[in-house]
């Protein structure tokens, strides 16, 4: 089944004309037809357009075009938060109405330039706000390993689609864990690069100082390939950093002897599930066996990260989402004057979690509260970032669980927003510090059998070491080869 291949397996078969891009694309479409009624990873997809792209790729492959274009003929699906020219974009919200993107995001331009078949709109929490995809206006995505459970979020559709082999790889975005957490809960690889590594042009903004685009893949090598394609400075995003883009795949040597891995003592919290802890402990043992050195480190302000995040992220969101006002695009509810039009449009168009965050963010920025909340949180953010920079003087990467538990039940946390927020405890600091993080499969719970994710955090622009370590672990363990029975 071609849809089950990794990216590197597929490109090898495409290059020697063993298979066609059309056959690979059709295999993904067949899998979507077979399983997506149950999983609902996709909000929509255009099969005709996807197959037309495959035919273009096949013509180029026939002329031996693979060497120049490393993703030629590879089906890659996209979270509904990235602009793909002439395709719908909803951010899983009602407020965007029948929006059609007038241009490509920079990452989409780069994927297309590398020859990828860019298709589909993957489900997510509305405006990337959530940890379960239950906040989508288009229905909840189900976890491929257990259809009664959430796939994680906010990029739940991106993770579920890769885990269920509905595409070869996918793109998501990560503001507080929205790539790593669903990757962990669905059993695939999810990478959040350093802030500034990838251009955010064409990514609908949630919290601009935290958002970063990244790949979901079936193994670490594929993540390295996609990172290489998507990275680089972009004049259209002034926060993208002019840092050279290395050959990330070249870093995957399998040799991690002598590298130091830090275990933060603050991450052994009470809410950490025993089976998750056991899986992470076993992974640490595996690292030792591979020749890495384990050191205990301290990230003393860990306990303040969630509170800091929910001030900064909501403040930035309240400003970013002001643009959805019913004037230039999206749905509109008429009013007697512009203010009434704005209020009614936004009241009708946004879902409950988005409203909650807009109100919280507006409040922490409002006159009289700005210094007490927003400025205070920005100062705590400095402390959190310093924690990491200090820790990296003692170690090359930090090892943690990605999530405190495996996938929870649909509805289990939706009534209590604070409990939902606290489930992000291990992923949130990474965004505040602007450092890269990756989640790789590291085992399963017993009953029910659900994937567990291992998180590795690295130095700013240290993606090469991060991928090297993740790859060495992956190649020494069987977890990434297991498939959900759907």
């Amino acid at each position: 089944m071609l849809n089950q291949l990794t990216l590197s397996e597929l490109t090898a078969k495409l290059a020697n004309r063993e298979v066609s891009a059309r056959a690979a694309m059709q295999a993904c479409l067949d899998q979507i037809a077979r399983v997506d009624g149950k999983i609902h990873a996709f909000i929509s997809y255009d099969a005709t357009d996807a197959l037309a792209q495959a035919d273009v790729a096949d013509r180029e492959l026939a002329q031996g075009g693979r060497t120049a274009r490393c993703l030629l003929g590879v089906p890659v699906a996209v979270k509904d938060v990235l602009c793909v020219k002439n395709q719908p974009l909803n951010c899983a919200s009602k407020i965007l109405g029948n929006f059609i993107s007038p241009y490509d995001a920079t990452v989409i331009e780069k994927l297309k330039a590398a020859g990828a078949i860019v298709f589909g709109r993957l489900n997510m929490d509305e405006f990337a706000m959530g940890s379960s995809t239950e906040n989508s206006a288009f229905g909840t995505t189900k976890n491929p390993w257990d259809l009664t459970r959430i796939p994680g979020g906010s990029s739940g559709g991106s993770a579920a689609a890769v885990a269920a082999d509905e595409c070869i790889a996918s793109l998501g975005s990560d503001t507080g864990g929205s790539i790593r957490q669903p990757a962990a809960l669905c059993g695939c690889v999810g990478l959040k690069p350093t802030y500034g590594r990838i251009s955010r042009y064409g990514l609908v903004a949630f919290a601009s100082s935290l958002d970063q685009i990244g790949p979901f893949t079936k193994d670490v090598r594929d993540a390295a390939t996609l990172l290489g394609v998507m990275s680089g400075v972009d004049p259209r995003d002034s926060t993208s950093v002019p840092q050279p883009v290395p050959d990330y795949a070249a870093a995957l040597t399998g040799d991690i002897k002598g590298l130091k891995l830090g275990l933060p003592k603050e991450y052994m919290i009470g809410g950490l599930d025993a089976e998750v802890k056991a899986a992470v402990d076993a992974a640490v043992k595996k690292f030792t066996g591979l020749g890495a050195e384990i050191v205990e480190i301290s990230l003393p302000h860990t306990d303040y990260a969630v509170a800091t995040y929910y001030i900064i992220a909501t403040a930035e969101a309240s400003a970013n989402l002001a643009r959805f006002d019913g004037i230039r695009y999206g749905a509109r509810v008429d009013g007697a004057d512009p203010i009434e039009l704005y209020s009614k449009t936004r009241g009708a168009g946004f879902g409950p979690e988005v409203k909650r965050r807009i109100i919280l963010g507006t409040y922490v920025l409002s006159s009289g509260y700005h210094d007490a909340y927003y400025l205070h949180a920005q100062k705590v953010r400095t402390l959190i970032r310093h924690d990491f920079l200090q820790a990296f003087e003692q170690c090359d990467a930090i090892v943690t669980p990605t999530t405190p538990t495996a996938a929870f039940k649909i509805g289990e946390k939706s009534a209590d927003p604070l409990q939902m927020y606290l489930s992000d405890i291990f992923t949130i600091s990474c965004n505040l510090a602007g450092i890269p993080g990756i989640s790789v499969p590291c085992g399963f719970t017993k009953n029910p059998r659900l994937p567990v994710g291992l998180q590795l955090l690295g130095r700013p622009f240290g993606e090469e070491s991060l991928l090297k370590i993740a790859h060495a672990y992956e190649q020494a363990t069987p977890w990434h080869k297991e498939k959900a029975a759907i």
Binding site: A307, P338, H376
Partner: protein
């Protein structure tokens, strides 16, 4: 930090967000709960700490001041909920 009470109606007005009375009540309770949790940041003395707005090692990113092409007029209007005469149509603003 201030007390963990939000005047939801007032903040919703600032945010230009119409809420039903039921939403106001529910949001008030949930946000009180969240703000109560956020209070823990007060434990930290940050009087000598500089704020971090972002983690990018860049300042003053500029580009050449040159005329470049942008979205066409038709593309810019393409998603408008209401348009006329090549413009976005809005409710009357001035009397």
């Amino acid at each position: 930090m201030a007390s963990a009470e939000i005047d939801v109606k007032y903040v919703a007005h600032l945010a230009r967000l119409a809420l039903t009375p039921a939403e106001e009540k529910q949001l008030g309770a949930q946000l009180g709960n969240i703000l109560g949790y956020i209070e823990k940041l007060r434990e930290l003395d940050v009087s000598r700490v500089e704020p971090t707005a972002h983690a990018v090692p860049l300042v003053n990113v500029t580009r050449a001041d040159e005329i470049r092409s942008s979205l066409s007029h038709a593309d810019a209007l393409r998603n408008a909920p209401k348009q006329g005469g090549g413009l976005f149509v809005v409710p009357k603003i001035v009397e």
